[in-house]
Amino acid sequence: MNILLQDHISKLKTGIEGFDHIGKGGLPEGRTTLVAGSAGSAKTVFAAQFIVMGISQYNQNGVFVTFEESPSDIKRNMLGFGWDIATMEAENKLAFVDASPQPGEQPLISGDYDLGGLLARIENAISKTGAKRVSLDSIGAIFSQFSDAILIRRELYRIATALKNLNVTAVITAERISEYGPIAKFGVEEFVADNVIILRNVLEEEKRRRTIEILKFRGTNHQKGECPFTITSEGIVIIPLSAIELKQKSSNIRITSGSKELDDMCSGGFFRDSIILASGATGTGKTLMATEFMAGGAANNEKSLLFAFEESREQLFRNATGWGIDFEKMEQEQILKVICEYPEVTSLEDHLIQIKSTINKFKPVRVAIDSLSALERVSTLKSFREFIIDLTSFIKQREIAGLFTSTSPALMGGTSITEGHISTITDSIILLRYVETFGEMRRGITVLKMRGSKHDKEIREFIIDETGMHIGKPFRDVTGIISGNPQHGIKTDLDRFDNLFNPNNP
């Protein structure tokens, strides 16, 4: 007999982007979840988004109990995310319970008391709106209103129990002192210990990194570990890394790289759903490759999208004109879209969200990013790796070809840290290198790897002129190009070798 382990606790979809993925369906339904975080970790946004999404997406009304900010402050703050809480309130879909400190004198305390007033008001608000969702934000504030912490803790436990009996799904937020320490202040986790979520806002290598971690969902499954998230104009967006599945389809359809000779080196072009990494030192022709990749798509009437993080729009368009490519005309025909941005304008997570939403809107067949190294500047190693993983899987799922460029730090040879992280994820790697020969800098190109296809193994010379990139013959007389130590003199050996079999030779 087989005993199947089943989830007995059903989940409630929150509607918070990415959360339902890491929560494997959402929050445990009919239960209370503690959301703990330090100051500025987006607890209130989480609590409000939970309520607002319930109303706007699932037709579930909600109650917002506020202990810290006044309802009018919350309404005003959340308007920035486009959440019209005042209208929801007017339509009786949302009710506030204002438990924020009132201006004026502190109330006197004479004898025993409980929080019966608060509980009655919450119950009243729930029955008035028929609420399915309740948020309490943030309960630490009530401990400063009343001095008896033991009594307040006992009363909050009573409220949590009452919420359970009312069959609502509740979110209780609480403060933490440090990012990696006790779960919450005042030991509040003791009475809502079933489900705990932690929001973090860690300073790492001088950069802020927001993460969410589901610490526990009692009796039901969830993703483990920290997941990055960001706050966009639409609220919290979680990037569920661990939820990415490796089940992209593979296609055999080839698309042009934009250069006939490079297509030949790759046995007929790139695969339509592959990720190509072009790596080389500054000035080796990476931007040119990206430009030709775009032009090649546009020429075949394929929508192409270019994200440029290194050069300005004017510069990029001028360069393209210099190689005989008219970006301006392509953009007018809406076959091309060029987005130029400084990496420093926002965080890597926000760049990711922006790239994804642009791809979703424009629906390109090919995407180029010039360059990944520029994006690496604004992130930590960890978030950069997560960025690459998330972006590549996103692109592949949509069967889009992606060309990423990466700048290697050394002029001759060498690899960058960037490549170390992404080389295993990319399907093809193309190296662009400087080759020093007899007092002359020449350029070399080679296809280092190409998954699922034969490819040219030779290091070929290429030149750049007013019509773009031209790949020529292989470097026969030089070794050590890739390692950055070109050695000559083999030519004579080769000649001798060739001559051995030359019947014309004596």
Binding site: L108, I109, Y113, G117
Partner: protein, 95 residues
């Protein structure tokens, strides 16, 4: 109209509620003669009134008139505190 308007919020007919009511009545009869109106509001019957006054704890006594508004939380067993909090002595002495 009477000089004092007092509102007492309680939760249900518990012993704590009863204690608050009897403590308050005693304080009033000893200090206010007949010069007061007392409203006892059970939040279980009237949660909206509790919401309007933003009552969290019960029992809560609110002295609405004369100004200034005062709030006292608890079963009012510490009578001296209540008398002081309602500023009864001060007002009586002025008279």
């Amino acid at each position: 109209m009477k000089k004092y308007l007092l509102k007492l919020f309680i939760t249900g007919k518990t012993s704590r509620s009863e204690a608050a009511i009897s403590n308050l009545k005693q304080i009033c009869s000893e200090n206010l003669n007949e010069e007061y109106d007392l409203l006892v509001i059970d939040v279980l019957d009237n949660p909206q009134l509790a919401d309007d006054e933003k009552v969290l704890a019960t029992p809560t006594l609110i002295k609405e008139l004369p100004p200034p508004l005062r709030r006292i939380i608890g079963d009012l067993s510490e009578k001296e505190k209540v008398i002081k909090g309602l500023e009864l002595k001060k007002i009586n002495e002025q008279e």
